[in-house]
Symmetry: C2
Subunit: 499 residues, 2 copies
Amino acid sequence: MSSDATRSASPVEQWGVFETALRGPAEGNPFTDVTFSAVFRQGERAFPVTGFYDGDGVYRLRFMPDATGEWHYETRGNRPELDGRSGTFTALAPSAGNHGPVRVRDSFHFIHADGTPFIPFGTTCYAWIHQSGALQRQTLQTLAGAPFNKLRMCILPKWYPFNHVEPERYPFEGTPPRQWDFARFNPAFFRHLDTCVADLCTLGIEADLILFHPYDEDRFGFHREHCEVHWGFDRMGEANDDRYLRYVIARYAAYRNVWWSLANEWDFVKPKQPSDWLRLGGIIQAEDPHRRLASIHNGGCDFDHAQPWITHCSLQKPHTDGARAYRDRYRKPVIYDECHYEGNIPQSWGNLTAEKMVAQFWSAWINGAYCGHGETYLAPDEVLWWSKGGVLRGRSPACLAFMKTLLADAPSNGAPMNPPYWETWGVPDEYYLVHLHEQQPAKWKIRLSGDNARFKASLIDPWAMTIAPLGEFHGDAELDLPPGRTHLVLRFVRVHHTH
Amino acid sequence: MSSDATRSASPVEQWGVFETALRGPAEGNPFTDVTFSAVFRQGERAFPVTGFYDGDGVYRLRFMPDATGEWHYETRGNRPELDGRSGTFTALAPSAGNHGPVRVRDSFHFIHADGTPFIPFGTTCYAWIHQSGALQRQTLQTLAGAPFNKLRMCILPKWYPFNHVEPERYPFEGTPPRQWDFARFNPAFFRHLDTCVADLCTLGIEADLILFHPYDEDRFGFHREHCEVHWGFDRMGEANDDRYLRYVIARYAAYRNVWWSLANEWDFVKPKQPSDWLRLGGIIQAEDPHRRLASIHNGGCDFDHAQPWITHCSLQKPHTDGARAYRDRYRKPVIYDECHYEGNIPQSWGNLTAEKMVAQFWSAWINGAYCGHGETYLAPDEVLWWSKGGVLRGRSPACLAFMKTLLADAPSNGAPMNPPYWETWGVPDEYYLVHLHEQQPAKWKIRLSGDNARFKASLIDPWAMTIAPLGEFHGDAELDLPPGRTHLVLRFVRVHHTH
């Protein structure tokens, strides 16, 4: 290989997606016959990256440079035109709004690579990419005006109550409902998903990509107790599952806003065994060169979050006050990605009041965890935000925006406190947030600090979205609280005098 | 012993307390020097009963005949005047209102010995017996008009926030605060407790007697983080603990309304180890001839409810929807004796709204458990119902009375149902109760039965205490529900036509 053969590509920004394409064979089955990869290097650092076939004889490599400066790569492949090719490109300083990927900070929290805090305020639109173009555009428009910075979304289409629409595109070659060649991906489907992930990135939203899920059955009977396979994407078998997962990693790991959610409701995916999830998790661990955040979300049974590829506990629970047990056991961040949704559908998980949805977020936070939103209001067109996207009708998003703004001011080293600080989060002697749940104390006592430092007290109403000053306190403080109000939050911020 | 020496006593009613007294030594320490017991017999059945010293040279035996007819007893003692004495008495049919002791029914429920159902609606007045006579009379008066049929109450006095009153009587001879002869009981204290237990029995209230508790410390500092022993009844040592427990069993086991609660917040009693609780539980098992209901109540850590002397799980939890795990594990009834209290005190466990207190009961019931009430409203005189008794100020008791009446009509073989019946309790094809928690479904679907039986549907508002008929439904029913209301209950009762 001469240095002339080294391609010099246009610069990309740090944490942006560098992409290059090579032409290779289009005959046979390129998805199974052809191997194609590269090693990306900067100085001593090397990142092995798997390429992917994108149809029409085009083979692509995607890579996210995690530092500015010169980068070099060299390919390997089992076809001459894909082997031993090399190239260079330059990574420039990130543009405004590009804070880099999100990583775990201090065991229980998240932070962008550039040091910008990331406090997850997630929402859920499981099947938004499978809806009409107009509806997808509306979803993005809604997200642009909403407080959410993380979106749970399925790659595989969803067949479920309120979700009986055949999508425009399928991830595999074939004919719906059940004639699929699982060994051949549909590039058009994935090119569309590329755009969706990139659009979310532009909006500053992390794409929590759900890789497998159990929503692939026709269910009959009033309570849907009899079921038949719909597409069968939940039971493709080990070889097809593994190939699909490797393809998704090769294609999406370079997007800085991608998180892996190995499954939604892993224990409800009947055709899979725990050993399958361990094997699939091992593939993520081995093959994601960018080490994206990764989790697995439960139905009724907790997964073993100690697995090394799991970066945080992604939980479904009806209550959000139990995070300490998960923190203590796993020493990882805890996100209640699902804790029922605001809405009014008959299903027990989809008819919380807006007040309760907001309270779930506060309860999670005070106990050292994060929370996720969803919305399920009945609509004649069956477009429910939780799955199809569209517009938000509920009253919780405004309150969550208020909460998000408020927490942006909270100290980054805050933590749930121990008795005698009940339901209190903060930093001893500096900052306290107390969540009063469905409590109505007439008086509240708190020891603000051992010395005589003064604290500004505020009464926060997360529902009315008001912050009322209560005056300054010090030492052992006792406050009178208004009667008959619940879900209030008390905040005490130490006053530092500058001279 | 000649048959002339056999005393013939006045008749008592079945499940009443037969009591007889003998004179014996008053010198030395009768509590430790003298042994005194009897065997009660009817036909082939024999019940060994321990007597107790009641001061002034008087030794008593108490026994509850569990069947009508002739009973005979013969004493044993290590003093001639207490040994080999025999007697007979007749047990008559029980009077109205005497339904016999409460027993476990069908693993998870309770029933009186005469077959009358017992659905626990407990409340809590921990230290009511230690208050002034006037206050105790007021407590009994309040209980007479309240829906509660079980009362959690401590035998040993309580020293705790809102509880810094030295009682009129102490269980041991000595001088407060810490000069006690634990080897000598104070008969006046226990004669008073006899009356209290009997008064509750007259009101049809089970006395859940708490035998040990951790509330015996002077706590200093704003958050009471420094503590000193107050009376020391929580750290009397093994021999004194055992003697006290045996004395209480000898004295109270014959009362049909007595339940044993070995401890309140067992894990907060710092001077005791798990092995102490196992030993003390073993004493209950070995020495209670009447096999009263027995439990042990937790602070933060569950006890092992599999112990053979434990008849039911007595829990403290902030949520009451987790009973199924306890039912499945222990196959015993579950009572959330403490799930926070209605009130407005600063302590996090004492400021629930009345609505939430009521919802705790419903949530427990729907999941196959029972619940307990408590009330902690600030009062200038520091008389809070939860501990001292007095009057009830809250709004939950009326709603609990409504609930109790409503459940008296529910089928005795009802149970929490499995998906797709979420948060539903009932009997398949016969009766369903659905608790909607903080949910606001606009529509609700339920499969009422496979055949065409008709069901009367009602919308129950546990807070407004209304039952609104919704009409008749059958098969796969779909109901429209009023918007914006929470904590509603739906009831479906099968219509049986008689010809």
